[in-house]
Amino acid sequence: ADPWDLCLPMDSGQAPRPEPAAGGGTRIRGREVAGDAHRLRARGEARIDTPARVVEAETLDYDRDTGVGTAEEGVRVSDGDTVIEAERARVEDDGARGELEGVRYRILSRHARGGADRVFMEDRDRYRLLGFTYTTCDPTAEFWRLEGPEVRIDMARGSGTAYHANLRIHGVPVFYLPVFSFPVDDRRKTGFLIPRLGSSSETGSELAVPWYWNIAPQYDLTLTPRLTSRRGAFLGVEARHLQRHGAGTLEADLVPEDRLTGGRRWLARWRESGRLGARWLYDLDAARASDTGYFEDFGETLAVASTTHLEQRADLTYAGPRWRTRLRLQAFQTVDGTVAETARPYRRLPALEVLLRNPPRLGPLEPGLRLEATRFEHDVKVEGRRLDLLGSLAWPLRRPWGFVVPRLWARHTAYDLAGPVTGEENPSRSLPGFSLDAGLVLERQTPRFLQTLEPRLFYLRVPYRDQSAIPVFDSARLELTFAGLFRDNRFSGADRVGDADQLTLALTSRLLDADGGRERLRASVGQILHFRDRRVVLPGKAPETAARSALVGELTAALAGGWRVLADARYDTETPRTEEANVRLQYRPDERHILNLAYRFEAEASRQSDLSFRWPLGRRWYTVGRWNRDLDARQDLETFLGLEYESCCWMLRVVGRRFVNDTEGDTNTSFYLQLVLKGLARVGNRLEDILGRGILGYPDGP
């Protein structure tokens, strides 16, 4: 949606685009032009078009040898987007550089305008304005204006930096900003924060003064010192770099001395990914906090407050033509005090995976090969090294109307254990496996849709192997979903390979748009028939004896009028009871209306309802809200309600919010006020994260 659609239309008629002569020469027009091969004077609607800009005036002098053009009274300089009217102008190097005095300017694409005593055009994209004003408001309703002795605007990098600037709201000076950077285009979605006043029961009232430093086109740094009444001083750091081969960000929150607990506390996350040449890729994501209570004390938004583990992971991948090899280092920091020592995850230091990527065809057969060698480390539990080899051979028979894919595989896994070993030090397991995946595709044309009916069966046979001597490093029972009906192991990882003699029966139907093949609706249902009990289990669990798995269903639909449905459920036909059900309904007829309704049920675990909306009241007012309730505990997990008023160049958001933020179920109640100066900055609390996370589809605003 155009963020400026509430403004008066900006007259773009007077923003002539440069029409240079062919080959980048200069075009001169005027009622009368006189001079010689070196100097020309044009008079009467005079106009010079150079590749960079257009200069128009009553009288124009142009020196061909130096490319300098000068003009007096009634001068207009334009590049088709930035239009500058000036009393005097001197333009050099054929319009690339120049100096103008007594200026009024408009930047059409940014809906920005203002004035300046002097403007220096340093090159095609960079301007320096002395004695400037800058606003994105309509002339008739100038809600805010930034003014000061100097601002530098870099259209290529899409940012402006003002020095000793004053922000005036309705003419009243509100902020003095020694150095202040602001976005001059929408590339930087977040825009920049300027001094932020806010409150939350965790940190009390707080004042934040962000400082942004555009170090170089590829590097930038944002430092945000924050003074809080209850916790003392914070320093927020965000360093970013973007190069051709890769990009990275370092985010950190530092609390030198937390007044409440007295300690030094911090949270940092470093992400880095990119390519080294055509085939080598690296990906790093490492987060760490100073102590386990960090999130409960400082987690501003619900999601951050509920992180239980921080992952530190580094991958180096070689994507060869035939094989993909990945070396991974992976460790975790548990930041949830309630997680017992023995429940803490293992560390993979390292894990090497080699995977056959583009299998060669051996006649009709398609081979598969995967090798993984991993060293597992743990503070208290048994440690060890594991080698896992999986070789497979498939015979895919595919036709447009169906497929049959028999697949035979063999897997060998060997361990070398250390530390508190209870049984053998070198257990191992070898077993074959067989699966047959077959399906048909039936179609019929209905008036508006192409409907498909896709029956599918999946037979899996894996012999039983006693795996009780094998420790559990990374295996867990996978949750049964529709996709899970077609997996060849009911456990994740390699420490448990589930024995199986089962047949999955499933049916999927799709409604596809006749023209674009866009899927309007997909409904699937399926169930596994077990011909044998499943004896391979995780320690402490009983064998599974049910003759049939739960009936698993999935529905996704995008209907006319902006309705979207997302639902899935598991229904236990034996008991019978519903094990799990999830329904999400979204109504979004257009950009301005959003309504989400969700119901989540998991037997003996949780029952939740979740309502969220952003609804307009007329053209300028919006209500926003969320009510997420735990129906079993009869407790509201997150509730917020707010109002937004939007005008041409500013928006005010007021939100009251309460959310659960720690294990005892204590809640954090906060009141948020945010003033958005469209195209310049946000004053007040960071509401985008809260609204964006709470309301599915909330636009990440101007």
Partner: protein, 141 residues
Amino acid sequence: APPPIELEADRVEVDDNRGVSVYEGAVVVTQGRRVVRADRVVVRNDAQGPARLEAEGAPATLEDVDAEGRPLRGEGRRIDYDLRGEVVVITGEARLRQGGDRFRGEHIEYRIADGRIRAEGGDARVHILLAPREGATGDGR
């Protein structure tokens, strides 16, 4: 003194006592390297000889080399050449090409001695296309 003038045409009418001769039909006037081609040329003489040419054509054309040795080419419905003042005036959809530069307007004056040009647009505007300067990066970087 300026080089002599030679004229060719299909027909000539000479009026000695008024010192005027009118050449018509594929008229070519050559003066050294300067050549005027037109359908009709009126030559007015003074004591020393031809002093003024008035050429008309659809269009009448002028070829010349300017003081800095660049090729010059003018055309228009009428070209008046004042040999004494060494000024050429092109009127009526006047075009003048000087090296890489091109001038367009209703009335273009060109002084041969120093290459000064003056153009007027009449009701429209004069339109000038200048060849790119050497060393002009165009974006100032």
